[in-house]
């Protein structure tokens, strides 16, 4: 789960990372009030889960509170990469002397938190990584001992020649690591970490992603989720215990298991169709999940046909068949449905489907070829 910049900033501030003052606003008037409180020139920043905010016009300098209000008025409600801006962050315009990068991720290979720092921070950090990887310094932290003082200071000196600044950066890295582990983050980055003309080291922008598996035991973090920043169908799917990602095609897919779901989408494409979505109904079967899955998929007007691909293991195929039966009784499905199922309780499932005039296919390739042909006929 991605946090907004203002949420990440608050989290790091609470942990003790020095950040500029500032606050978040939902209306132009609030933005004006914050700008007045800060005084001087401020930056008004769109809060959306998308990169390239500045290029899209979502980050503006304002010399006066009135200008801050005007910018906020334009930015709030703006669409950036399909997402509507609901909030802006208002912060003082920092006088920036240098920009560095400090980030932490979960490293699959070392199976440790990987700290990455670079004196060449800012918006071009990805280019730095690609073209001058020697300017990025990495350390896989052993979680048994944490980030040790000498390690942090050593990396601090990779960023700054000045000892006081190196120490300040080391303290920020240590605090960031603490916040990363304490909040079960999968990514935490400060970019840029700036020095101002008086030599102060400050975190100017922050991004944090929380591991989804952490949210069950951390209602405080789960409460930071901003559902207005997500596609409505994806929110509905999550509430129904389904994993759903909308795509651009017209073949709706309902599958059990993520790997098989991806392979099903790939096979649709292989036979010349275009998948409309990724949808995993998960391991344990429950007819209600199938009803919800059909409801979500049929709400997409682009969908011309729906394919079920169920390999029963823990998932009972008769539960899936019952779900289809219940859904069809509850609401109309105007597009054709092709069902492939095999495995646990297959005979019962076939009987249930026959009872409502449907046939079940046993083979995945047959089912995908059939649905692609149906979509072609309909076109």
């Amino acid at each position: 789960m991605n946090l907004h910049e203002y949420q990440a900033r608050e989290l790091l501030r609470a942990a003790g990372v020095p950040t500029p003052e500032g606050d978040v606003a939902s209306t132009p008037d609030e933005a004006e009030a914050i700008a007045r409180r800060i005084g001087g020139t401020v930056v008004v920043k769109a809060q959306v889960h998308a990169g390239g905010r500045g290029k899209a016009g979502g980050v503006k300098l304002a010399a006066t509170p009135a200008e801050a209000k005007a910018h906020a008025g334009r930015i709030l409600g703006m669409q950036i990469k399909g997402l509507t801006v609901q909030k802006v962050l208002v912060v003082p315009a920092a006088d920036i002397a240098t920009e560095a990068y400090v980030g932490l991720i979960v490293d699959r290979e070392s199976q440790r938190p990987l700290l990455m720092v670079s004196p060449a921070g800012g918006i071009d950090i990805e280019e730095v990584a690609a073209k001058t990887p020697e300017k990025i310094f990495k350390l896989a932290i052993d979680p048994r001992y944490g980030l040790m003082a000498h390690q942090a200071l050593g990396l601090g000196f990779k960023l700054y020649a000045d000892a006081a600044q190196a120490r300040a950066a080391a303290k920020i890295m240590t605090t960031l690591y603490g916040a990363f582990m304490a909040n079960g983050a999968s990514l935490a980055e400060i970019n840029p970490l700036v020095t101002t003309s008086d030599g102060t080291v400050l975190a100017l922008d922050a991004k944090i992603s929380i591991d989804d598996n952490e949210l069950d035991r951390r209602p405080d973090l789960a409460g930071l989720r901003d559902e207005s920043a997500e596609a409505p169908a994806e929110v509905a799917a999550r509430h129904a215990g389904l994993t759903f990602i909308k795509l651009d095609g017209n073949v709706g897919c309902v599958v059990n298991g993520a790997g098989l779901a991806m392979a099903t989408m790939d096979l649709v494409k292989y036979y010349g169709g275009e998948p409309a979505n990724f949808l995993d109904i998960g391991g344990s079967s429950n007819p209600e999940k199938v009803v919800n899955a059909l409801r979500i998929i049929t709400s997409d007007p682009q969908v011309k046909a729906i394919l079920f691909n169920i390999f029963g293991g823990i998932t009972r195929t008769d539960d899936v068949a019952n779900g289809i039966k219940t859904a069809l009784a509850e609401f109309p499905v105007k597009v054709p449905i092709v069902v492939r199922l095999t495995g646990t309780n297959e005979a019962e499932a076939v009987k249930i489907l026959q009872g409502i005039g449907m046939t079940a296919l046993n083979d995945m390739d047959d089912a995908v070829q059939k649905i692609v042909a149906l979509v072609r006929e309909a076109a």
Partner: protein
């Protein structure tokens, strides 16, 4: 022969009285797996299905029954602790089925598992099965058959799909291993490839990968350098969207984006025969087996 588990495996089930644990223990027992003990704190002294003794702690279970392998079906919040308990009790092979373990918990427990010299399979995996000998996990036994193909996969149901194709076409397996889809897992492709390479009864290896990370690329390079047996590979997720990134530098700085195309190219470049569709496994494995 087989890898990791066989007819002699003495299995203890952590979370044996839970909803998932009890269901799958019955399945494993009916397959013929030697389930010698179960653990549920507070239920020590009970008998599961009238035949499997239940203990309060894993240490008690191991001492009383000589269990050598554990399987974990406990909820995610306590799963890392169950893994540590198994490693601490001296078990050398631990299978964790649990899905949804916080990644921070896994980063903390892995160094301990390695220090104890244990091998963890999973978490968030379907376990493994050596057809005709032992089923340790949730892979349906009826779709597998004994034979000479070793299969390793990051997926669950996609594995069933492929195994089913093999079995229906008369191609059996030595062992089918699900390594799990989480970012931090105990056993990776290379570990399983190493075991299959050393297993005299495995003639062909099937490797099922997916998008994300670089494990498949590393495994492909390993195959070229160290595996003399033919390998057939699949990558799921060619049509998966790259995901709405929030401009995270982290994933990019740390390396590859792990697309399907990149991984399939790595397979081909290293001599692995690539399946375009799951059903292609039959044709490619037959070619490699020379039948």
């Amino acid at each position: 022969m087989s890898i990791f588990v066989n007819a002699a495996t003495r299995l203890v089930v952590q979370g044996i009285t839970g909803r998932d644990g009890s269901f799958h223990t019955r399945q494993m027992l009916s397959y013929g797996t030697r389930v010698v003990a179960g653990v549920t704190p507070g239920k020590g002294g009970q008998q599961f299905e009238g035949s499997v003794p239940v203990f309060n702690t894993l240490a008690d279970a191991v001492e009383a029954t000589g269990a050598d392998t554990s399987i974990i079906y406990v909820p995610p919040a306590v799963a890392a602790s169950a893994i540590a308990e198994a490693a601490d009790a001296g078990l050398k092979f631990i299978v964790c089925i649990t899905e949804g373990i916080p990644v921070v918990d896994m980063m903390k427990v892995m160094p301990f598992v390695r220090e104890q010299g244990a091998r963890l399979l999973g978490p968030n995996c379907p376990g493994l099965i050596s057809p005709g000998q032992a089923k340790v996990g949730i892979i349906p036994g009826n779709i597998c058959a004994p034979g000479r193909v070793g299969l390793v996969s990051r997926s669950g149901t996609l594995t069933y799909e492929v195994v089913n194709h093999l079995t229906r076409n008369g191609i059996g397996q030595t062992t089918c291993v699900g390594i799990g889809g989480d970012p931090i897992i105990g056993t990776n492709f290379i570990d399983v490839l190493t075991a299959f390479q050393a297993d005299p009864d495995t003639d062909v290896i099937v490797m099922m990968g997916e998008i994300g990370g670089t494990d498949e690329q590393k495994a492909a390079a390993f195959v070229k350098a160290h595996v003399t047996k033919p390998v057939v590979g699949f990558i799921a997720g060619q049509t998966a969207p790259p995901g709405r990134r929030m401009g995270h530098a982290g994933a990019i700085i740390s390396g590859s984006s792990g697309t399907a195309a990149e991984k399939m190219a790595a397979f081909r470049d290293n001599g692995i025969a690539v399946m375009e569709r799951p059903v292609d496994v039959v044709r490619l494995v037959r070619e490699k087996l020379g039948k």
